[in-house]
């Protein structure tokens, strides 16, 4: 598929597509972080995670509209508010869902998978009733538009760099929260031994609920990022859920570092192949490669050997 390109052209194509893939990488990573935390912590497979992302996207859309009509002077800064609102909205919905449904289903991953699929269908219908079946797009503020020209063949899109920086910040924050804070210590304690953690005075239920809400909140932020690459519709979230789960499994479900690496590998290979092949074939090839590697190495790319 590389016929007819010179080496330098190929280099430029890879670089361009690589930068173009950064937003996809960010969306994958933010989604996968939430999923991995929730699965690792509670053994819950959240099939409605895509709908939480889309909720974030709708909130971003609403915020953008609000700023456009009421606060046009501050439009340049709306995105930061949108992200905060998206995080809060998705987190609040996650908190409620945990209380109504998820807490009854801990450690029954197959059941959570089916039940949350039901939740995702209901949310899709709610979005369709509230926002309409048509897809909506947001207007980006001027400073996020355009690109920075590195060479005469390579453009770096500014929104991509911005989302990338944002994702890096959030990822670092999640790491700090999980591995440096007292709360993270509690989460890890509950994950390893719920009974002992309870005996040590940790309120496992509260930890669970906040963890779930946090995972969903991050998905909401992913939704904000998503508005820059795709248009928001009721069913848009479903398109990402399988890919994101593959990201999590591929990275090794227990390893946050693995999640980052696999999100990068999958988004970049898809983005790069899209230049040479049709979008659908790029996706097929990427997924096939991932599934193929998983069949050879089912434990994912990064796992440590432990006694079970």
């Amino acid at each position: 598929m590389f016929d007819g390109y010179t080496a330098s052209q190929l280099m430029s194509i890879f670089a361009m597509q690589g930068f173009a893939g950064l937003i996809l990488f960010s969306v994958f990573l933010l989604m996968a972080l939430g999923l991995a935390i929730i699965f690792g912590q509670m053994g819950v497979i959240n099939m409605a995670h895509g709908e939480f992302m889309i909720l974030g996207a709708y909130v971003t859309f609403l915020t953008s509209n609000f700023f456009q009509s009421n606060l046009p002077h501050f439009f340049g800064g709306y995105f930061f508010f949108a992200m905060a609102f998206a995080f809060l909205a998705a987190g609040a919905l996650g908190y409620a869902l945990e209380w109504v449904l998820i807490r009854h289903l801990y450690r029954r991953p197959l059941d959570t998978l089916l039940a949350t699929w039901g939740v995702s269908m209901i949310l899709q219908q709610v979005y369709r009733s509230v926002f309409g079946a048509r897809e909506v797009g947001v207007v980006l503020p001027d400073w996020l538009m355009g690109s920075y020209q590195v060479t005469d063949m390579i453009d770096v899109p500014i929104n991509g760099m911005f989302v990338m920086a944002l994702t890096a910040t959030i990822t670092a924050a999640v790491f700090a929260l999980m591995f440096r804070s007292t709360w993270g210590l509690q989460v890890r304690a509950v994950t390893q031994n719920r009974v002992m953690a309870g005996a040590a005075g940790i309120n496992g239920k509260r930890v669970d609920r906040l963890t779930f809400a946090l995972g969903c909140g991050i998905a909401g932020v992913a939704g904000s990022a998503f508005t820059m690459v795709g248009s928001t519709g009721p069913t848009a979230g479903q398109l990402y859920i399988v890919d994101t789960f593959l990201v999590v499994v591929f990275g090794g479900a227990q390893s946050l570092f693995g999640t980052i690496a696999s999100a990068f590998a999958i988004s970049q290979s898809q983005s790069t192949m899209e230049f040479f092949l049709s979008g659908s074939m790029a996706k097929v090839l990427t997924l096939l490669t991932v599934v193929g590697i998983l069949l050879l190495r089912p434990q994912g790319l990064f796992v440590v050997k432990v006694r079970k």
Binding site: V304, K305, V306, R307
Partner: protein, 247 residues
């Protein structure tokens, strides 16, 4: 005596989890019809040794020879077919099947897909199962779903599921843990009976129970053998006393 004369020869067995050596260069030998008890403080690697022998955990180095064949290269079901049976620490039975069905599934026959499809319950199968049920005090519970058994009965059922396979080497991980006093006594009696014609490796903490059945005791500490010999020798070994009572 060459190593082949033993039923089980464990030599240089080592396994490391992420750098931590749970079992470290371990060697011991078990004779035919010998009852060996492994004791040791928590985290000494007792259960891991059983895991290594029955193939649940793969060894990093070393060998486990059983009747001259190397177990470390075999898969779990092949090891079982070679004659090694294993009871787990918590009762491991099929809760959704009846006691009869639990024993029937454990029969050492029709263990392939086609065999299972063609299997037919015969008179001799029923009699064999009833005999084992008698032995494990569950003769009047055959039709009961296993999940409704008491904890002690579940332990007995799992022992019965191993008995019906007639293994040459039986490995029991804390067979009396969590049992009432009367259940303990019946279990000791049961074990004394069933250990007659086979080699047995038992992990147990209850010293009274150990004295009762052990031919030879191996004391593990931090993945290595601390002491080995008959029960009196081990109990008077200063190193053992240090580990259990010291610090």
């Amino acid at each position: 005596m060459t190593t082949n004369d033993f039923l089980l020869s464990v030599e240089g067995l080592t396994v490391s989890f992420d750098g931590f050596k749970a079992v470290n260069d371990l060697s011991f030998y078990v004779d035919r019809n010998e009852i060996r008890v492994i004791i040791g403080p928590n985290g000494a690697g007792k259960t891991t040794v059983l895991d290594l022998i029955c193939g649940k955990t793969k060894a990093t180095a070393g060998s486990v020879a059983f009747k001259g064949s190397e177990l470390t290269r075999m898969s779990e079901h092949q090891i079982v077919k070679a004659g090694v049976g294993r009871k787990f620490q918590t009762p491991s039975i099929y809760e959704d099947l009846t006691v009869f069905e639990n024993l029937e599934v454990s029969l050492p026959m029709a263990r392939s897909v086609s065999g299972a499809l063609m299997f037919r319950r015969s008179r001799s199968v029923v009699e064999r199962i009833e005999a084992v049920a008698e032995e494990i005090f569950l003769a009047d519970q055959l039709g009961k779903r296993a999940e409704y058994l008491s904890h002690g009965q579940k332990q007995w059922l799992e022992i019965g599921m191993l008995l019906i396979q007639e293994p040459e080497l039986l490995m029991l991980d804390e067979p009396v843990a969590g049992m009432s006093v009367s259940e303990r006594e019946r279990t000791a009696e049961l074990l004394n009976r069933i250990t007659r014609d086979r080699a047995v490796i038992v992990i147990e903490h209850d010293m009274k129970f150990v004295k009762n059945i052990a031919h030879k005791v191996t004391v593990l500490h931090q993945g290595r053998i601390l002491s080995e010999g008959d029960i009196n020798k081990v109990q008077n070994d200063p190193k053992v006393i240090e580990v259990y009572l010291g610090h």
